[in-house]
Amino acid sequence: MTSFLNDLISTFPAFIRAAWMTLQITGISLALALVIGLVFALMKVSGIKALSVIYSGYVGIIRGTPLIVQIMWLYFGITQIVVLSAFWAGTIALAIHSGAYIAEIFRGCIQSVDRGQMEAAESLGMKRGLAMRRIILPQAFKRAIPPMGNQFIIGLKDSSLVAFIGITEIFSLSMDNAAVTFKQLEFYTIAGLYYLAMVALFTYLLSRLEDRLDTAK
């Protein structure tokens, strides 16, 4: 136990830097994924056939292939066209990946808003775009928060896969330490603890957000 604590403490500075990398990749990729998800969800509910087909293609391909394949494809595959740094290849791959799931969440929440809301808005002379922005989306966003929180946690943990394109984040740092010291159990436990702490922080922030929105309506 003391040796485990020693391992934990001695690697603490390195793991904090790695955790910061994990948080950066997660934060940037999820911010991009929110934009991607919203744009695609709006394409789906636009009622324009071509946009709807693009949506189905995107969601179908992303959900149909593993994230690790998407990361590898973007980092090693696409270099023939553009060269992306490992950081950006990983972040963009994660953004495109989460974007598909977030698009599905937004689409579901937009479509779950009662049809009468759009009718009421239109009957008051609002154009569809204005009605979407003022009436439908605020209600849809509120409903999207719990499933979105779930998706954010998945996104945080999925960021561990960028270890395989050589980014030093929590998981890759654990792999390196485990390989050098042969302390597999210790270092993967340490990795788990860091993820657990970050997820706990996410969960706390989300529940605060939900509480605030609930009292503010």
Binding site: D114, A120, E122, G125, M126, P138, K142
Partner: protein, 240 residues
């Protein structure tokens, strides 16, 4: 003011409106009645293009509205609509519900819109509810807010789609009172309702729909005391 001629509407294979002709004059209160499925709500919803007609013409103030060339939002600005299920915006307070369209569609300055909204809420008896969210209101109060919200756009005609059908019986009266007040103010109104008392008392004309056509229409006194169409007789014997 509104003129409908030879209106046809299909839902898939179902022929809902089978060539309806209807005139609504300014300041007139027209009440549409009929059995469920007779097409009265569909006809009403065609008037502000929430349902698109398949055939026929709809004219407002002498101007024919072609949905493919006329921006429908400009038509709807002048046509208030009150729904059976209120359709208030749940994420906004009562006051915000009422000022939403004036501020964002008509570009009325906010202070002016708030002043107008307060006047309208006072008119429907809810002056003290401006800061409340709709979920805190009773059905009758919600519907009165919905009426105020529609009036805030200063429409030239108001459409009511079964405005009291979703209400507890003891709350129907307060909504009908507001509607009577509107009629007395000279608002042009088209009302789909099952409230025969209201039709009798307030309507200038009663329109009876049966199977997608107007089977009979006339002043309420004559219609209720001496209906001509066999279906109208049958309907009235069941509801009165």
């Amino acid at each position: 003011m509104i003129s409908v001629s030879n209106l046809h509407k299909y839902f898939g294979k179902l022929h809902v409106l089978k060539g309806v002709d209807l005139e609504v004059k300014a300041r007139e209160v027209v009440v549409m009645i009929g059995a469920s499925g007779s097409g009265k709500s569909t006809l009403l919803r065609c008037l502000n293009f929430l349902e698109m007609k398949d055939e026929g013409t709809i004219t407002f103030d002498g101007r024919e509205i072609d949905p493919t060339t006329t921006p429908l939002n400009t038509v709807r600005e002048n046509v208030g609509m009150v729904f059976q299920h209120f359709n208030l915006f749940p994420h906004m307070t009562v006051l915000e519900n009422v000022i939403e369209a004036p501020v964002h569609v008509k570009r009325t300055p906010k202070a002016q819109a708030i002043e107008q909204a307060k006047r309208l809420l006072d008119k429907v008896g809810l002056a003290d509810k401006g800061d409340v969210y709709p979920e805190k209101l009773s059905g009758g109060q919600k519907q009165r807010v919905a009426i105020a919200r529609a009036l805030a756009m200063e429409p030239s005609v108001m459409l009511f789609d079964e405005p009291t059908s979703a209400l507890d019986p003891e709350l129907v009266g307060e909504v009908l009172e507001v509607m009577k007040g509107l009629a007395a103010d000279g608002m042009t109104m088209v009302v789909v309702t099952h409230e025969m008392g209201f039709a009798r008392e307030v309507a200038d004309r009663v329109v009876f729909l049966d199977d997608g056509t107007i089977a009979e229409q006339g002043d309420p006194e004559t219609f209720f005391s001496n209906p001509q169409h066999p279906k109208a007789k049958q309907f009235l014997s069941r509801v009165l």
